[in-house]
């Protein structure tokens, strides 16, 4: 297949990085020469919806992609970007934080909306097993002691184990959402 685009963006929060993300990255890499993986809300961690730090999420992604022998690391950028909390500036913040790109790959409706508003081409990667392969679903399975290791890469599982991530997610799920209550 002929690649028509030179550089794309794939945006997610990766809480945690899972097989759905891996499939989307593979899809995007079939369309573009190089791909920037943007770790959104990078400043968030230790919240029920955002348990992992930016450093932990970078490690999950990097180790998982390192294990794919077919993937040329030279084509990949992994860039954490903190929220700017001014929605109308968010696309500008991303554009200034990464090398120039021509298209955005995302399954997030809001990201889709904001980039389209600025005239950027948005591509929605096909989703497989979307109800299982979502961060929310995986965190819920962890909280409820259901099987989840089959939904993430072995490398992600190792990172989560190293930081006692299962315990962390369970504790955060019990906390009052209002910090410091």
């Amino acid at each position: 297949m002929k690649r028509v685009l030179s550089r794309g963006l794939f945006i997610g929060r990766f809480q945690p990085f899972h097989l759905g993300h891996k499939a989307s990255i593979d899809f995007a890499l079939s369309q573009v020469e190089s791909l920037v993986i943007v770790i959104g809300s990078s400043q968030k961690s230790f919240e029920a919806r955002n348990p992992f730090t930016s450093g932990e999420r970078i490690l999950m992604i990097k180790e998982s992609l390192n294990a794919d022998v077919d993937l040329d690391q030279k084509r990949l950028f992994i860039i954490p970007i903190p929220d700017i909390n001014i929605h109308s500036l968010w696309t500008a913040q991303i554009s200034n934080s990464v090398p120039k790109f021509e298209s955005v790959f995302t399954n997030d409706e809001f990201t889709n909306m904001l980039f389209k508003e600025k005239g950027v081409k948005v591509i929605v990667p096909p989703l497989h097993r979307r109800h299982e392969l979502s961060g929310t679903a995986i965190r819920n399975r962890i909280v409820n002691d259901l099987e989840w290791l089959n939904l993430v890469s072995p490398q992600t599982a190792v990172v989560i184990d190293d930081i006692a991530g299962v315990q962390r997610i369970k504790k955060l799920s019990l906390l009052d959402p209002h910090f410091n209550g």
Copy 2:
């Protein structure tokens, strides 16, 4: 009626600017020589409750008031003010951002409370058709395809049309309130 006050403040979010706002401004202008229209939460946009940018809201207000031949533009200031997120400093932030004023016109209970706490005179403009003429009600009508054009000025309607605002409000209403989910 004799005007006893030299300058007043009218504070709102104007999401969007509607005929209730226009009536309150007319009321305030009957009481004061000059009026500062403060666009609160100016940094917010692309949220279900705050769909419009500061620039878009300024345009709605300015074009609507320009169309009123009885209104002397020299008496009006339109000033956007971002949230400071420290409630106890909010009145100080406003005072430093606008020309000196003697009174505040507002229908918002919280604004009322904070200014009274600082000893500022607060006047509550009479509300007509308060259940229809509110930003929340108008956004809900737009989402549900109910008639709403009769609740705003023709100029506001043009601004909303120019930016595909109806579509924007509908999309935002469907999104998970947690950005980047």
Copy 3:
């Protein structure tokens, strides 16, 4: 009892300062030579869950502890610390804002979790009458005109009276949680 630790931290929001806080401070002072009382979320006020400013909370604590003739003021620090909103940096912010300490006293699960994650010793003071002696319970009693003066020190009661705090809490409880609605 032999004191084995030189300095401890007691962290709370003190909305308002109540007898449960006083008991925890007494407990902590039985364990350490000097104690830093950290007023968390110091930037918050005029919210239903955080009605009092940092200055008001400092006054409640200081006046209440001044009244305890058995307590040596030289052993006490009272330090307000604003939220940093990046959870993974919160313990670092506290450590840089207070004199060196060896242990943390807290009944808050989240504070407990974050300090343990950094390897800091956390001690949970015994709670007496925990359902009554909580900020949330006391604010609810105030809203509902139930007896609450027996749950705080006379000095806290005076501070609340001086600032018309009962009225403030009642008003805040009625407001739309979304500021500037």
Copy 4:
């Protein structure tokens, strides 16, 4: 002369508003249908280079322009914009804070550079008496008790007088530039 542009931006700090600014605004209004006057660094005040608050500067501009009987107030917006302190986002912040525009009028080299980088048309208004008609020059004359009233509008002079602005500028000029030394 035929106006080819629908809306322009004129950006300055207006410390204080002077006759050079007025001439540039007149020039810009000869080129565009409506003009947005952007008050940059709006958050700054009580500094040697930025003595006046946003509210004071808005008042200088508004009162000065109100006095021009040939000028139609309906064509004018006056919008304060705080610095974002991330240079690469500054043009995006402006674009989101004002109604859509096609061109920028500025004598500031840096503003010129940033907008050109984004592909926006920049027009440099002709400068008359540029060594006299600059904020820096006027503040210096005030500090040194030289004639300056002929360099500003009578309305600006009244605002400065009302707030004891001459004294303020003199005091600020004597202070160590490092606040809280």
Copy 5:
């Protein structure tokens, strides 16, 4: 001497706390019933002009004042306040961070100016040996290996020794003022 004021503020940066500060505090305590010692620029540290953290400065002050047997600790508050970087809001930030006060004691011209602008009574404590007893002078003496221990309390000297503060000040004095050059 009759005390006419109930509560005063003494504002400094305390880089480091020295005998001049102690004399000013003694003077202020002769005028007011209770005194709030405000540690300004509390967020700054590891800069040539601001070498010490907030926690270190609090400890210097507290330990020094604890050693004064004539001083009743119940009359004293020690409150760190970070810069807000919006000069026109600085007095409001202080007012919301401390218990109510009637007067401000300060030798800083800028602090003096800002509070007077808001109508607050400002008292300038008499300065003894002002050329020696200033933070700048003491830091310079430390850098140049001149005698300085006679200019601070023994308690301040101990805190500085515990953190290897002499070394820190010397290193910072050699660094390019532009961080991360």
Copy 6:
């Protein structure tokens, strides 16, 4: 040579990325298994000392390292980190933004000082041609039309050319350092 450390950090601003940086990275990679290249002050750009955006600097580094056939991309992380402007929190911010590390490689005295203060092992890579191979020297050569292409990788040169970086550096060098003057 036996590698004793598992992961190291190399911190710079990379304005621009030059052959000195490349040599330091090669040195660090001889000591550790994997290396995190931290792009400091990532939020800065369009300043005389910080002309390039984070996205531009990432591209310079990535393309330059991609061209080194002996370098295994799997061992490398490239992570931009914005300044936190609270020096005492800077090391904590870095630690939370990157995967766990055991050592820091840096030629910057201040970075060295802050990490040592926290007990982190700091290694100073040997510097070759230190007067030529510095960002400041290279920017100065560009401003003065002296030879500089031999001091950077061909890939850095291409990035600078693509964005008209020579022109940008020259323009920024002429500007008043005070933005918006």
